[in-house]
Amino acid sequence: MYRLDNAQQGEKYNTIFSRTTPAQRRKRNARSRFRARFLLGLYLFLMILPIYWLINMSLQTNSEILGSMTLWPKNLTFDNYIGIFTNSSWYMGYVNSMLYVALNMLITICVALPAAYAFSRYRFIGDKHLFFWLLTNLMAPPAVFLLPYFQLYYSVGLFDTHIAVALAHCLFNIPLAIWILEGFMSSVPKEIDETAYIDGYSFPRFFIKIFIPMIRSGIGVTLFFLFMFSWVELLLARTLTATDAQPIGMIMTRTSTASGIDWGTLAAAGVLTIVPGILVVYFVRNHIAKGFALGRT
């Protein structure tokens, strides 16, 4: 009510004392809104252009790609995609990538949930140092860990398995998950925990039955980020695999053969790596803005 009054008063004040009439102001607002839309549209257009070009190439034959400059495919062909889906050495790359990403998400969320709860609710000896140490892992350049990882996973016999990549990606994904989840958990009032304990809930029961459902959207957003960073990372994934668990990004390098690069297949494979991301982002679109601020806005 109060707000509305204020706004109305403001409107009156403006009409009385300003030299511009409401109609003029509305027109000016409309113009600036149009300019904003135009600039945003321009940015989106430029942003989409390289992706469009990839899609465009994936729908052409190699002779058309190399033969002439075509802004859209003249002879539409899906051969590049069919080639990928009928060749197991190609599509297994996608399966491998999905497998280690899913494994990583599962492991990470299971250990990050209790840890984030501890950081958001309790003080304990060394908590601040532990949190900072976690963040340093997020900042560690994967290149630093290349060689030791290779040797470590080789010596424990996990080399070239999905679990090796999933564990390696925990290095940066666990700290990230804890950072985001801690933000979401801290926005849940403490009184809820206390009331539940008074009502006789044990910690595990409270955590699973009450607390996790309350931060559902936070968990969704966290899973999105875990997916994102595990899906896009290639340096570690490539180093820890040889044949059986090779990610799609690595298989894509195979398109250069003696007769030149198979551009069509390369483009089609690239397009297919974008698709899972679009699916995942669609599911969390309503909460994603809060997630990007690590649940802290």
């Binding site: 403001g10 609710r121 350049p141 060689l147 666990i174 982002v281 994603i288």
Partner: protein
């Protein structure tokens, strides 16, 4: 933040995480430290060398060039991405289906595997089959990223801006969304100009997310590897070889265990120092903002 209960049993909740991260962080890090002070000639022939490798790394002019290049790159992309990201966040629609559509579109580059980002730009900038390379050539500009190091630099910067500006924009967008509508109404009553609204309402709200944005962008750009590797391969010459690539070449390509381990440690320490500065800044800002607790 201040009303947390002291309870050391919370360690039990942290323990599983700690075991996992320690396995993938501490053991490898120890290996690196171990290598950095030894000369490994074979399985049973290793000699203690002290700080010899560190000296040779610090005096390596190629690495010093890569370091300067790296700093230059990180500062350039920050100078472009932060203002651009704020600008985009300001003009993004706030509600309705357009908001969802723009959100999904804007996040798109973030979800593409990094080497595919490199491939996309490699294709896009080629003179014979790429739209941008072809277009520039038609305009009479002699553009070639494999020959001209200036072109290679410009392309890598452009690629990184394309790839990561969405992250800054999304962070700012979420910061802007948390500003109550009443603030804008008050500003409208005061007939505040657009600039005044931005300067005194929006920017102060954004500082928190902007620190996170700068931190994340600095870190990621400081360890950039796959994109320039695919796009230019570090060339022409070594004009776009950044730190991670130098390290990977040394460790995997040449198998120089000692020097690359020493290099790793120096590299990591630099990042650690910067992230500590940012971390203390974030913590201080949260303390100033919420003296009575809450995140």
């Amino acid at each position: 933040m201040n009303n947390k209960v002291l309870n050391n049993r919370a360690w039990l909740l942290v323990l599983p995480m700690l075991v996992l991260v320690a396995f993938s962080a501490i053991i490898p890090l120890m290996t690196v430290v171990n290598y950095s002070v030894q000369d490994v000639l074979g399985p049973n022939a290793r000699f203690f060398t002290g700080t010899e490798w560190f000296h040779s790394i610090l005096n390596d002019s190629a690495l010093r060039d890569a370091f300067v290049r790296q700093i230059l790159f990180s500062l350039t992309i920050l100078a472009i991405q932060v203002p651009l990201g704020i600008g985009i966040a300001l003009i993004m629609p706030k509600r309705g289906w357009q908001a969802s559509a723009v959100l999904i579109l804007i996040t798109l580059p973030l979800l593409i595997p990094w080497n595919v980002v490199g491939s996309i730009w490699q294709i896009f900038t080629r003179g014979d089959i790429g739209l941008m390379g072809y277009g520039l050539r038609e305009l009479g500009i002699n553009y070639n990223i494999t020959r001209n190091s200036g072109d290679a630099w410009a392309t890598i910067i452009l690629m990184d801006v394309w790839h990561w500006t969405p992250l800054v924009a999304m962070l700012c967008y979420s910061g802007l969304r948390s500003i109550p509508e009443a603030y804008y109404q008050a500003a409208r009553i005061d007939r505040a100009s657009k600039w005044a609204i931005f300067r005194y309402i929006q920017l102060p709200k954004l500082t928190n997310v902007l620190v996170i944005a700068v931190l994340l962008r600095f870190m990621h750009s400081f360890m950039i590897y796959a994109e320039p590797f695919v796009l230019t391969g570090g060339g022409p010459g070594s004009s776009t070889t950044f730190l991670s690539q130098s390290l990977a070449t040394m460790a995997i390509g040449q198998q120089d265990l000692g020097p690359s381990a020493a290099f790793s440690i120096i590299y990591f320490l630099v990042i650690l120092l910067v992230s500590w500065v940012f971390y203390t800044t974030i913590m201080h800002m949260q303390k100033d903002k919420n003296p009575h607790g809450g995140a």
